[in-house]
Symmetry: C2
Subunit: 401 residues, 2 copies
């Protein structure tokens, strides 16, 4: 039998995947599992997007341009302008989700063995994209004590080598919900310019900034045009994860021309998804007002509830729809499995994502979990009670992997 690749062996599994069989077993036993582990919002996709798909009557479902339909790119440019960002359609390459936007970006700027610095905890799939591109992740740990603020510039400096090609941030952050300040972004700009690096910002949660705070895009940082690559997606903005439509935004023409070559090889992004994405640009502002109100209500309920549990610490996030909570357990991985295998409250339990999978440094974040508050407040209330009751029982028993 021929061997698979070393890259394939290195490729990480989803940090949640090993828990899936335990969740399935719990459901088979009749226990309801409240899923706090996935970033799939329950928010309705805007009608305007679904209507466009229902009214789409092509003779042939043809390829689009490799960079995406021009009409869609023009619509996206207007969307960015409305957000205060000076972006033209020539600065945009439509991709198959934010995932492909990252893969194409990494391939365009990094070679096998090159290094990328990412503040951790970070979106677990950054590990997969990096492994796939042959790129080495150099994590820089942000602490729960600081609410996951950007580590100091000196910490970044320590990690920079001749192999360092880029810094990648997610803002607002998955899994932390942290929203970077102007000052933090200025620090990143400084180090990126000093060392001639690319700054890649995953800004797919742009709209989800709370408490009157405003999301600041790296596209607003003056003098950074040649270094900035923005990753975007319709997935979370319009609760349309399955459309698989995202984009790369950059004013670096050499980079975009290179990215287009990778895009040409895969022919085009999905036509149906682009039709929905283009229509979604007409989503009324009231949609976001309502969605943000909903997320804020959920967040406030969740964070207050979690922090009221003895031994639990959960910084209040200012954006996205995730939080990281520290639990009074030795190993959140073992606890998460135990929740599914052995615990239930009113015949319900919760599935959480152990946060270790969001750290690249071994042994860090072992006491932490990530929660996505993409469920209604009633389920979230139950979830808080379940975690509270579970911790009471768990602390009185001995657990091993």
């Amino acid at each position: 039998m021929p061997n698979i690749s070393a890259k394939g062996l290195r490729m990480p599994e989803s940090p949640i995947r090993k828990l899936v069989p335990f969740a399935e077993d719990a459901k088979k036993r009749g226990t309801e599992v409240i899923h706090l582990n996935i970033g799939q919002p329950d928010i309705k996709t805007p009608d305007v997007a679904l209507e466009a798909i229902r009214n789409f009557e092509p003779k042939v479902v043809a390829y689009s341009h490799s960079a995406g339909f021009q009409s869609y790119r023009e619509g996206l440019a207007t969307y960015y302008k409305n957000a205060g960002l000076q972006v033209e359609h020539q600065n945009i390459l439509v991709t198959t989700g934010g995932s492909e936007a990252i893969t194409i970006s990494l391939n365009s700027i990094m070679d096998e063995g090159d290094e990328i610095i990412i503040p951790e905890p970070f979106y677990a799939n950054y590990n997969g994209f990096s492994t796939s591109a042959g790129v080495i992740v150099k994590p820089i740990t942000s602490s729960i004590e600081s609410g996951f603020a950007l580590p100091s510039i000196s910490e970044f400096e320590k990690l920079i080598t001749a192999k360092t090609k880029a810094i990648l941030i997610c803002n607002p952050g998955n899994p932390t919900g942290y929203l970077y300040s102007q000052k933090e972004l200025n620090s990143l700009k400084e180090i990126v310019l000093k060392h001639d690096l690319f700054l890649i910002a995953d800004e797919v949660y742009r709209e989800f900034a709370y408490d009157g705070k405003k999301h600041i895009s790296i596209l607003e940082l003056e003098g950074l045009d040649q270094n900035s690559i923005v990753i975007d997606s319709v997935s979370k903005r319009y609760s349309m994860c399955g459309a698989r439509v995202g984009c790369i935004v950059s004013k670096n023409n050499h980079f975009l021309a290179t990215a287009l070559k990778f895009a040409q090889a895969r022919l085009s992004p999905p036509t149906f998804g682009q039709v929905a994405g283009e229509a979604a640009l007409k989503t009324p502002a009231s949609y976001f007002t309502e969605v943000i109100e909903e997320y804020v209500e959920r967040r406030d309920l969740l964070i207050e509830g979690l922090n009221a549990i003895e031994g639990v610490v959960c910084p209040k996030p200012s954006g996205a729809f995730y939080c990281i909570a520290q639990l009074p357990v030795d190993d959140a991985d073992v606890f998460a499995q135990w929740l599914l295998e052995e615990f239930s409250w009113n015949n319900k339990t919760v599935m959480v994502a152990p946060a270790a999978g969001f750290y690249s440094t071994p042994e860090i974040g072992k006491q932490q979990i990530r929660i996505a508050y993409v469920l209604n407040t009633s389920d979230l209330k139950d979830a808080i009670t379940i975690i509270e009751e579970a911790l009471k029982v768990y602390s009185c028993t001995i657990h091993t992997k």
Copy 2:
């Protein structure tokens, strides 16, 4: 300004792309351009697929399973069984088009610097996928004189090194239209088993086999289960290129589990496209009968017409909807540009794909072009006349790049 990657510099441009501005200029001058250069069929997408999209009314356009909707995978398994292939849904990983199926397969079995043998001329994007994966293409030239039959086993043996991990074929072939015989596939099986290689077969044109010949899948080759990887797609089968839905089929579980890790990183294939793809499985047999009749009529018209032109040689393909024609010109690239820049007949001209872009060996195929017969017979008749008249004029003038 930070540098792009060496991989990005190596990434090939589309072989047709440099001709696009000349086609645009011709259109601006009022000349009609008949596009023989693209594999985008003009055949109507089956109603059953389009209807499914119009009737798709989800509350949330959610991610599917990373391997694709189970119902779709089960439907695909039935499709393969109906084609005489013993495939279960567990053998299938749904991908974002055949393009992603190839990329994931290469990443799963090959590392930076590993080698893949591909009979040339081959689908130009195999170069792009290989470059993207850091893989080196070792071409093995099939000749127009033999109608692009598989080169002999001894030719393959000469290329095999410790770095060789796979052989990749396209059957029926793009750009040759060649359909491999049982004997040829047996030869491939022999060499693959002898050297413990993977055999990747791009079988997206499976249905398009003519003259009573039957397409033979590598999945039918006994004893090859652990070595076989089939690439498939809905793009050409249902004239649904924009859906971006394909799949990997393999009975090698270790390979598929590895491929799934790459699939998990990018979350899921497109939901809309999968809905259309699943519905398209119910396309009536009469659709294919009609489409195949149409392609055979076009092929016969084209091949007869081209071979009737003095100095033109064009083997008759048995499958797909492409042919490679040898022209009495020194450099088909220069000729193709001249057709767009300087020639017209009844205010029309043609855009062809110079075949050199389908060869990896330099200087081979320079006199050849690829034609996709995805146009109606009226346009094809005009196209033949244009090529004939153009060659008369061209032979009397001097051309340089």
